[in-house]
C-alpha cells in the first residue's frame, strides 16, 4: 500500500494534518476502576497527543490536558450529561472528567477557528462489551474477518 509523505505535518501535502494518523495511547486504570490519561498539544503541530486514546472499557476518565503550543486552543469533549469544554491558553494545564459508556469511539476537538480541520481533532476509543444482560439471547454469531 502506498503512503504519501507530508500528510502527517502542517503545511506539507495538505494544509493541515490528516485526521486519525497520529499516535495511540492507553488510559491507565486505577484500583477503583477510574481511568486516567494525559493529552498534550505540542508546539506548532496542531494535534492532540496521543491522537487516539484507548479506554479498556466504559466508565469515568480523568483527563489532564496540557497545551505546550504557543497559541491558544481548547477542547470540547464528549461526556454523558453534557459536552465538556475547557479553554487552553498558551502554556496551560487543566483537567476534565468524562463519563463514556461505550463500546465505540468518540471524536473531540478544538472548536476555535478551524483548529479541528487543521488537525486538532482527537478520538477516544472505549473498548469492552455491553453488560451480559443487554446481549441477545442467541448462540455466538460469525464475526467480520477482515
Amino acid at each position: 500500500m502506498a503512503d504519501v509523505p507530508g500528510l502527517d505535518k502542517q503545511n506539507g501535502v495538505t494544509l493541515g494534518r490528516i485526521l486519525g494518523r497520529t499516535t495511540v495511547g492507553e488510559a491507565e486504570e486505577g484500583s477503583g476502576g477510574k481511568m486516567t490519561a494525559t493529552i498534550r498539544i505540542p508546539e506548532d503541530e496542531l494535534v492532540y497527543e496521543p491522537g487516539v486514546l484507548v479506554m479498556p472499557h466504559g466508565g469515568i476518565l480523568e483527563l489532564t490536558l496540557i497545551n505546550d503550543d504557543k497559541n491558544t486552543h481548547c477542547a470540547v469533549l464528549p461526556s454523558n450529561g453534557d459536552t465538556q469544554f475547557i479553554w487552553l491558553v498558551n502554556h496551560s494545564k487543566g483537567t476534565a472528567t468524562l463519563e463514556l459508556d461505550g463500546p465505540g469511539y468518540y471524536w473531540y476537538g478544538s472548536t476555535t477557528g478551524n483548529d479541528e480541520g487543521r488537525g486538532l481533532t482527537g478520538a477516544i476509543v472505549v473498548g469492552g462489551q455491553v453488560p451480559d444482560e443487554a446481549k441477545l439471547d442467541r448462540p455466538p454469531q460469525p464475526q467480520p474477518d477482515v
Binding site: V76, D82, T95, P103, W107, E133, P139, Q141, P142
Partner: protein, 562 residues
C-alpha cells in the same frame, strides 16, 4: 515561575456557556399513571408520545380552527444545529414528538440531545447530551423519536441502546441501563412509553441481523422487569415459521423501533414489528417468519405475546409494520387501525387481532394481492440472484413510520401516503455480526412518485378525501378539535387541512423538510401547535429525489396573534 503552566481549571458543561436557565419547574412530579391514563382530559398538555395511550394523535383543543387558521403565525423557534464529528453526521434529522406538561416542553433531537424548554417562549431551561459513539450502527440516520415523562423523571433512549432516566427539574441523570448490544448492530431510536410503574422501550437494528425485542424497566429504579423477543426460539410458539434446521431465527429482525399503543382495559401493548432479515433474500429463511411484519399484542405486566396479525408473511420487500396501531371504539367494537408499508389499511378487532376490514390506501400496488381478510398472495418479488425486480410500494412503503391520526369528532382516519416504487436485485451474502444484512441492492424510484394526505372511513375502508402532492408525504399527522389536520411536507411547508374536506387552509415554509410528529398544547389559554423541522434520516430510502435538501434543525411553535 515563567515555565509553570497557567492553570486552565476544570472543564465545564457546555450549556453553562449559554443562556440555558439550568432548571425547570417541577411540573412532572404530579404526572402519575392515572393522569397518563386520562391524558386527553388535559388538552392543555401532551403527556405521552401519541398524546394519549390510544395513539389517536388527537388534541381536543379548538382555539385554532378552520375559521381562523389562516392567521396562524410562528410564536417562537428553537434551533439546535450540529457541532463537531458525530455519528450519522450526514443523516441526522429531527423526528421527535414534543411532550408538554403545564407549560414546559421536553423534546429530544438527535445524537443524544434532550431539551427542556419554556413552551410559551421557546427559552431553553436545561439540556442533556448523551455521548453517542461515532461508529454505532444506524440503518436510517441519527434520530430519536421522543421522550416520556412521569413522577419527576424524563426518559429517553440513546443511539447506543441505553434507556436513561433524568431528573425533570435539572436534567441530571438518575439511572441508566443498557438494553441492546451495539457490537451486534443494535441501537435505539424509539420514544419510551410509561405504563403503570414501568417504562417500556424497543430495539433497532433490523438491517443488521439482530433478534428484535422490547423491554420493560421499573420506572423509579431502572430494574429490568421483562424482555419479549419478537422472533421465537426453536420450540417456542411461532418457531415453526422458521427453518427448523437453520440459524435464520437468530438474526431474523422484527425490531420494535416505534412506540406501542396501549389499551389499559385489556392490559395489552400493541406493537408493530419490523422486517425480517435479510430484508430481500427469503431463500435463507423459508416460512412465514413470525413475528416479523406483524401487529403483536403483548401483556403489559409479563411481556407475553397474547395475539398477533401478520401483515406480510415471508416479507421480500422490506415491509416493516412498525407503524402505529390506532385504538378506537366504533359501533361497539374495540378496533385497531394500522396503515402498513405494504399499501393496505387494516382494521383489526384488538381483542384478538383478527381482521375486520382490509383495503388499499395507495394507488399503485403490484407486489401482491391481499384479500379483504388480509390473506396474501405474493406476485412480484426479488427471487433470482442478480435479477432486478421493480415493485410498488418500494421498501419505504406506502406509509413510513410517521403516524396517521384519528379524530373522534369526524370518526375518520387521516394518513400520510407515499406512492413510490423501487427496484431490488437479490445479492446473497453471508451473515457477519454488525455488518448490514440486506440480501439485495436497492434503488428507490426518483421522479416517478406522488404523495397525498387521505381521510379514510374505518367503517367502510373507503377514502373520503385526498389532498395530493407531487412528492411523497412523510410527516406524522395531527388532528384537532378545531376541525383541522396538521402535517408537514418534505419541502418544508407545514400545512393545515380542513378535516372534513381536505382543503388546504394554511401553510408556513419552515425552511427544511418535515419527518417528525407535531403536537398541540396550550398555556394560559393560548393554543400552540409545535412542529420539529429537520430533513435527513433515511431519505435515500423513502424520498431519494429530496436527498440533497437542506438538513435544518428548528422547532416551530405556531399560535394565533394575541
Amino acid at each position: 515561575m515563567a515555565n509553570e503552566y497557567v492553570d486552565a481549571g476544570t472543564a465545564m458543561r457546555y450549556q453553562d456557556l449559554s443562556a440555558d436557565a439550568g432548571s425547570a419547574p417541577p411540573v412532572t412530579k404530579g404526572v402519575t399513571y392515572d393522569r397518563l391514563l386520562n391524558a386527553r382530559d388535559e388538552p392543555q398538555n401532551w403527556l405521552t408520545y401519541y398524546g394519549a395511550y390510544d395513539g389517536q394523535r388527537y388534541s381536543p383543543l379548538d382555539q385554532i380552527n378552520a375559521s381562523n387558521v389562516d392567521k396562524l403565525k410562528p410564536e417562537w423557534v428553537y434551533q439546535v444545529g450540529s457541532m463537531g464529528l458525530h455519528s450519522g453526521a450526514s443523516t441526522y434529522a429531527w423526528e421527535a414528538s414534543p411532550i408538554v406538561v403545564d407549560g414546559i416542553m421536553f423534546v429530544s433531537a438527535w445524537d443524544g440531545m434532550l431539551f427542556a424548554l419554556d413552551a410559551q417562549t421557546g427559552s431553553e431551561l436545561w439540556r442533556y447530551k448523551h455521548a453517542s459513539p461515532f461508529d454505532v450502527s444506524l440503518c436510517c440516520g441519527n434520530v430519536n423519536r421522543g421522550v416520556a415523562v412521569a413522577e419527576g423523571l424524563v426518559f429517553m433512549t440513546t443511539l447506543n441502546a441505553h434507556i436513561i432516566a433524568l431528573d425533570a427539574e435539572t436534567g441530571n441523570k438518575v439511572w441508566d441501563k443498557t438494553y441492546g448490544d451495539v457490537r451486534a448492530g443494535e441501537s435505539a431510536t424509539v420514544a419510551p412509553l410509561v405504563v403503570k410503574d414501568m417504562v417500556i422501550v424497543g430495539s433497532s437494528g433490523g438491517e443488521f441481523g439482530v433478534r428484535g425485542h422490547t423491554d420493560a424497566f421499573k420506572r423509579e429504579t431502572g430494574e429490568h422487569v421483562w424482555r419479549c423477543y419478537m422472533i421465537p426460539k426453536p420450540g417456542e410458539p411461532g418457531s415453526d415459521t422458521w427453518p427448523a434446521d437453520g440459524e435464520a431465527w437468530q438474526r431474523g429482525g422484527a425490531n420494535c423501533w416505534i412506540t406501542p399503543t396501549y389499551d389499559p382495559g385489556l392490559n395489552l401493548l400493541y406493537y408493530g414489528t419490523g422486517n425480517p432479515c435479510p430484508d430481500f433474500d427469503g431463500g435463507v429463511r423459508e416460512g412465514d417468519n413470525l413475528y416479523t411484519d406483524s401487529g403483536v399484542a403483548v401483556d403489559a405486566d409479563t411481556g407475553e405475546i397474547k395475539a398477533h396479525f401478520q401483515y406480510t408473511p415471508h416479507d421480500l420487500w422490506d415491509y416493516d409494520s412498525v407503524m402505529e396501531h390506532i385504538l378506537f371504539d366504533l359501533d361497539g367494537q374495540k378496533l385497531a387501525a394500522h396503515f402498513d408499508k405494504n399499501g393496505f389499511m387494516y382494521i383489526l378487532d384488538r381483542t384478538d387481532m383478527s381482521a375486520v376490514r382490509v383495503a388499499p390506501f395507495v394507488d399503485r400496488i403490484d407486489w401482491g394481492e391481499v384479500d379483504e381478510m388480509g390473506n396474501v398472495t405474493a406476485k412480484v418479488y426479488p427471487d433470482k440472484e442478480g435479477d432486478p425486480v421493480h415493485f410498488w410500494p418500494g421498501p419505504a412503503g406506502a406509509k413510513e413510520w410517521t403516524h396517521a391520526c384519528y379524530s373522534p369528532k369526524t370518526e375518520l382516519l387521516y394518513v400520510p401516503v407515499q406512492d413510490v416504487g423501487a427496484t431490488a436485485t437479490r445479492r446473497r451474502r453471508e451473515f457477519k455480526e454488525s455488518i448490514p444484512y440486506w440480501g439485495a441492492g436497492v434503488a428507490v424510484d426518483g421522479d416517478d412518485q406522488a404523495g397525498y394526505v387521505s381521510a379514510y372511513d374505518p367503517r367502510t375502508g373507503q377514502e373520503r378525501w385526498r389532498w395530493t402532492n407531487d412528492i411523497c408525504m412523510c410527516s406524522s399527522l395531527l388532528a384537532t378539535g378545531g376541525g383541522l389536520v396538521f402535517g408537514g411536507e418534505p419541502t418544508g411547508e407545514f400545512n393545515a387541512y380542513d378535516d372534513s374536506s381536505g382543503d388546504l387552509l394554511w401553510h408556513f415554509q419552515c425552511g427544511s423538510g418535515h419527518h417528525s410528529s407535531p403536537s398541540s398544547y396550550s398555556v394560559d389559554g393560548k393554543q400552540y401547535v409545535v412542529a420539529p423541522a429537520g430533513w435527513g434520516g433515511w431519505a435515500e430510502g423513502f424520498l431519494p429525489k429530496m436527498l440533497g435538501s437542506s438538513h435544518g434543525s428548528a422547532l416551530f411553535a405556531f399560535a394565533l396573534p394575541d
